[in-house]
Symmetry: C2
Subunit: 161 residues, 2 copies
Amino acid sequence: MAEVENGTGAEKAPAVAFTVLKPWLVVDAPKASDAVQFYKTAFGAEEVSRVMHPKRKAEHELPLVLSAELKLGSAIIVVSDLINDSSAPVKTAATGGVFCLETEDVESAVARAVTAGAAAEGEISEGDGASCSGRVGKVKDPYGNIWLICSPPKKCADVAA
Amino acid sequence: MAEVENGTGAEKAPAVAFTVLKPWLVVDAPKASDAVQFYKTAFGAEEVSRVMHPKRKAEHELPLVLSAELKLGSAIIVVSDLINDSSAPVKTAATGGVFCLETEDVESAVARAVTAGAAAEGEISEGDGASCSGRVGKVKDPYGNIWLICSPPKKCADVAA
């Protein structure tokens, strides 16, 4: 930080290469296990790894999840219990995230998510030419996150007025 | 939905294949352009596409961003202005998302993000054996999202007690 003097300096700073971006869903403890099961059932997510919190707190009935990694589409998402101790990188439950999931079968995907416990929001409709175009359904998961379930985008330069 | 009778039915429903997951960051209008510039400057994100809202609202000084897609690490993130009309798939600004970004050079990445306008939260420290292990820094962007900037995970089965 000593080498840059003001806000415009960042553009001259050496580029930093990022390899991976993982959305991290932090849920109120001890709901992470439930959330992992929900994402498996609702979206067919595959659990890649799970690390439990080493100190099980007496007041918690269930051991807490430090991080569970799930493969979902092209991404890895991380699901954690909110743990209020010094080891926690995040101190508040992060709810209200929005994620776009692409699939060829929007209707089945929405139906499956709703059956697993998500709330459908509105009807499946035609998108608007932006990222989520084609058919678009929307569900809210039990942990506060919104999932837009869309058919893959078609190449279109037009935006309907 | 007619074919399944209760919450456990989803596990028997046909699997739905998702191809892509895109985190979608919805910011208060008209800040999306600023946010895109911030993610470029702070994280070296590359803009892939941008679709503007066809109806520029009189009360807004700037045209609104329907969706801008940015390549960031292994992912595509979408940045949109919050647009309160019937075409909007999301009706509330989504802030408070948490994202893990992996890089070999955590210090430079955090410094660059802070120079670009992110707020550093705490010191860079050693992670805890979970998803964000190795060195971990944390910044909050001007739009309310938290970015954990971590060195790539080493294979470790141990979790320090």
